[in-house]
């Protein structure tokens, strides 16, 4: 367990567990199922629960900014259960489908949007080696998956058979397709510094203190973070870029005709993608799951190398605990960025649609291209001036070989069948 | 381990290709024809990638497929611009109406 990524794979864990259980197949199978169910439900609970929490947070922050209290009644002093109560109310509501709507597409569209934004969590690592699918091109894949959400929204707006919804969908399509370009270019800058599309590798390279974070790598990366955050806010259609649902002009935009459960799926998808883009920002620029302070990171490192004797040989208990803490750090960091998005929403007024497009095409695209070029040339300039590729801090560590921690499902299943045999 | 094999992927590619050709032949909506083109290109891509996995051709198949994807995106952009122009001039997207040069 020397390399940070060399955590135990599931198959290793299983085979070792098998040895411990004295070849008792049922014990292995039960343990496997138990572990799988616990971790899957924890992950599901996290990604399903976070949007619910953010909806509550949004109402609370909005209330405070507007000098009122926000929800206070349901679930105690702070209105903790407000979102749950709203959810129950929404599920009970009638599922209306307008007469002019294209009913099949109308019914499917919310699910399309929901699947797209929740699928992004598949490749979002929450801690070292804690990732659903450890794809080598994870950063690329997550951007691709996030870009699919627009499709559900366009189809929803179009199939509603209402002019407000159609306007909202058209705006959304134009906005999302345009903002994807600067967002991808800005995300390329830290990927370029890391030399990898693997989000885990990118995050690992930022260990060892705040000065190793890619946001402080060079001035271009510093600016790129703000550029990325702006485009990310726009790409999850948050204010001041929420033209698709501008209630002062379009009633409610693309979800005008939706009610009840399908409407709430759009909202869950929106808050889930807020977390996803914030998570990407944390992984790419803000040090991933590391605190950035020297002492806690040393503690994490110590925990990772601390391997007490557990019944299951090869199971790194210290690494497990460290990962558990690191996952908390990651979620807290991402939640801070989400809070920032909420803050921005209730502070800045909404732009006009032409201003939104101007901001993207005339400002953000050239700015991001310039930042990208600068980030490419920065190491050359610094090397010629100082003789080393980075300004301060140690040169970027190279993570030489990446043993991907989780096997593809086929391998696991196959290994499991072997175990059972 | 269940082996899927090359033929199965080639079958999928063939079905996609044929669907695309039929789509191009029978649709009169210009954008429907474009969708047919996309299906044909995807059928070809499935074949490329399948060959790249199951034969010693290796990476060449994937590289070619990537070029196909990029070219298809470019093709869609231009074709859509043409379709919009067509709509501006003819107020319809029915491709059978574009017969003014027939003399």
């Amino acid at each position: 367990m020397n390399g940070p990524l060399a955590v135990l794979t599931l198959e290793n864990f299983l085979s070792n567990l098998l040895k411990f259980a004295g070849n008792s197949e049922t014990v292995a199978l039960i343990a496997f199922l138990l572990a799988a169910v616990i971790h899957a439900s924890l992950l599901l609970g996290l990604f399903g629960g976070l949007p619910v929490f953010y909806i509550w947070l949004e109402r609370k922050v909005a209330g405070r900014i507007q000098d009122r209290l926000g929800p206070t009644r349901v679930g105690g002093k702070f209105g903790w259960l407000q979102t749950i109560a709203d959810g129950i109310k929404l599920i009970q509501k009638e599922d209306l489908i307008p007469r002019d709507a294209d009913s099949v597409v109308f019914r499917m569209a919310p699910y399309l949007a929901g699947i797209a934004s929740f699928a992004a969590f598949m490749v979002l690592p929450v801690a070292d080696g804690w990732i659903g699918v450890a794809a080598e091109c994870g950063a690329f894949l997550i951007l691709a998956l996030m870009s699919l959400e627009v499709l559900g929204i366009i189809l929803a707006g179009y199939s509603s058979g209402s002019k407000w919804a159609l306007f909202g969908a058209m705006r959304e399509a134009a906005q999302m397709v345009s903002y994807e370009i600067p967002m991808a270019i800005c995300a390329l800058i830290p990927l370029l510094i890391a030399g990898s599309l693997n989000l885990q590798v990118v995050s690992q390279m930022q260990t060892g203190g705040v000065w190793n974070w890619f946001i402080f790598h060079d001035p271009f990366a510093f600016l790129a973070f703000f550029c990325y955050f702006t485009t990310a806010t726009a790409s999850v259609k948050r204010a001041p870029f929420d033209l698709a649902e501008a209630e002062s002009e379009l009633v409610a935009g693309f979800h005008t005709e939706y009610s009840g459960f399908r409407w709430s799926i759009f909202f869950l998808a929106e808050y889930a993608s807020m977390f996803a883009v914030s998570g990407i920002a944390v992984l790419l620029f803000l040090g991933g799951w590391e605190t950035g302070i020297v002492i806690p990171e040393a503690v994490f490192g110590g925990l990772r190398s601390w391997m007490p004797n557990t019944p299951v040989a090869g199971f790194n208990l210290g690494g497990y605990v460290a990962n558990l803490l690191a996952a908390h750090v990651f979620v807290i960091k991402a939640s801070l960025l989400v809070t920032l998005q909420i803050w921005v929403r209730w502070t800045l007024p909404r732009l006009r649609i032409d201003q939104v497009m101007t901001t993207c095409l005339k400002y953000l695209v050239p700015i991001s291209c310039f930042l990208f070029l600068g980030a490419v040339f920065w190491p050359l300039i610094v090397t010629s001036a100082k003789g080393r590729p980075v300004l301060f801090g140690p040169p970027v560590k190279s993570v030489a070989s990446v043993a991907t921690p989780s096997a593809p499902s086929s391998t696991i299943a196959q290994n499991r069948s072997e175990v059972v045999r | 381990m269940g082996e899927v094999g090359l033929e199965a992927y080639l079958f999928v590619g063939a079905v996609l290709f044929v669907c695309g050709v039929v789509c191009m032949a029978t649709k009169r909506n210009g954008i429907g024809v474009l969708m047919g083109v996309e299906l044909v290109l995807n059928g070809a891509n499935v074949n490329f990638v399948a060959f790249s996995r199951y034969t010693p051709l290796g990476l060449d198949g994937q590289a070619t497929a990537l070029f196909v994807v990029v070219l298809a995106a470019a093709e869609a952009a231009v074709a859509l611009a043409i379709a919009l122009n067509y709509y501006n001039n003819h107020l319809t997207i029915d491709v059978d109406r574009g017969n003014e040069l027939q003399g």
Binding site: T404 | F11, N45, T55, L59, N85, N88, L91
Partner: protein, 236 residues
């Protein structure tokens, strides 16, 4: 087993989506089925160990091209154009010819011995996927024939090493290098003095320029113009 199951699910979705695109007359529903079909093709790419290509398919096709198409539908569909139907005779003829074509293709695919064909291809440095597959099969045979526990453990370890190598999904780096004009997948482990394999630097540059030209051209073609009024040859 899982791979087979996933293959069948996505193959059926791909083919079903494609057939639905042909069978549907409503353009928006066609776009929806196209999304289903192309998304499943992306899943097939993942199954074929082409991670980067699958992600590119999702980003460019499903997230880009289809959105563009739907955008086009919105700009052009105005009630009477949303359902432009071909005559039944044309549909019958088209689908008949299509069925014949499908039959020919399937028959052709079935009658070729693909193992023999790929054996005859000059294997100038096997692709990593193929190497892994053959190695994997070999190791599995070893595992099956192993008698002592030590042999068995060694074979299992080797299989895991192969899997770990394969899971790295190395096509990203390799594709990048090949666009750079380098082909480590071909040129490594080759006898000295052999000419190097061709990379894709020139095609890559050409396609970059091509994309730029297309960007400008499409913007020029689609620029706002005076809308045609009802004139000769146009009946609404």
């Amino acid at each position: 087993m899982t791979e087979q199951l996933l293959f069948w699910v996505f193959a059926i979705l791909t083919c079903g989506g494609a057939v639905a695109v042909v069978a549907t007359q409503n353009v928006v529903r066609m776009a929806f089925w196209l999304v289903v079909s192309l998304g499943s093709v992306a899943a097939l790419f993942f199954l074929l160990h082409a991670d980067f290509l699958g992600a590119a398919q999702l980003l460019i096709y499903v997230g880009g091209t289809v959105v563009l198409l739907v955008f086009g539908v919105m700009l052009t569909a105005s009630g009477h154009t949303i359902k432009v139907q071909a005559s039944p005779a044309e549909v019958m003829l088209g689908s008949g010819v299509g069925l014949v074509l499908l039959f020919v293709l399937l028959f052709g695919i079935n009658s070729v011995d693909w193992a023999d064909v790929s054996a005859r291809i000059p294997a100038a440095g096997d692709s990593p996927a193929v190497v892994d597959e053959t190695q994997d099969r070999h190791l599995r045979e070893q595992l099956a024939s192993a008698t002592t526990p030590e042999e068995k453990a060694a074979a299992e370890e080797a299989i895991q090493a192969v899997h770990a190598r394969r899971q790295a999904g190395r096509t990203v780096r390799q594709l990048g290098l090949s666009f750079y004009g380098l082909r480590p997948d071909r040129d490594l482990n080759q006898p000295a003095g052999q000419s190097l394999a061709a990379g894709y630097l020139l095609p890559f540059e050409i396609i970059s320029i091509h994309l730029l030209v297309v960007l400008i051209g499409a913007a020029y073609l689609a620029r706002a113009k005076r809308r045609a009024t009802s004139g000769p040859g146009v009946d609404l």
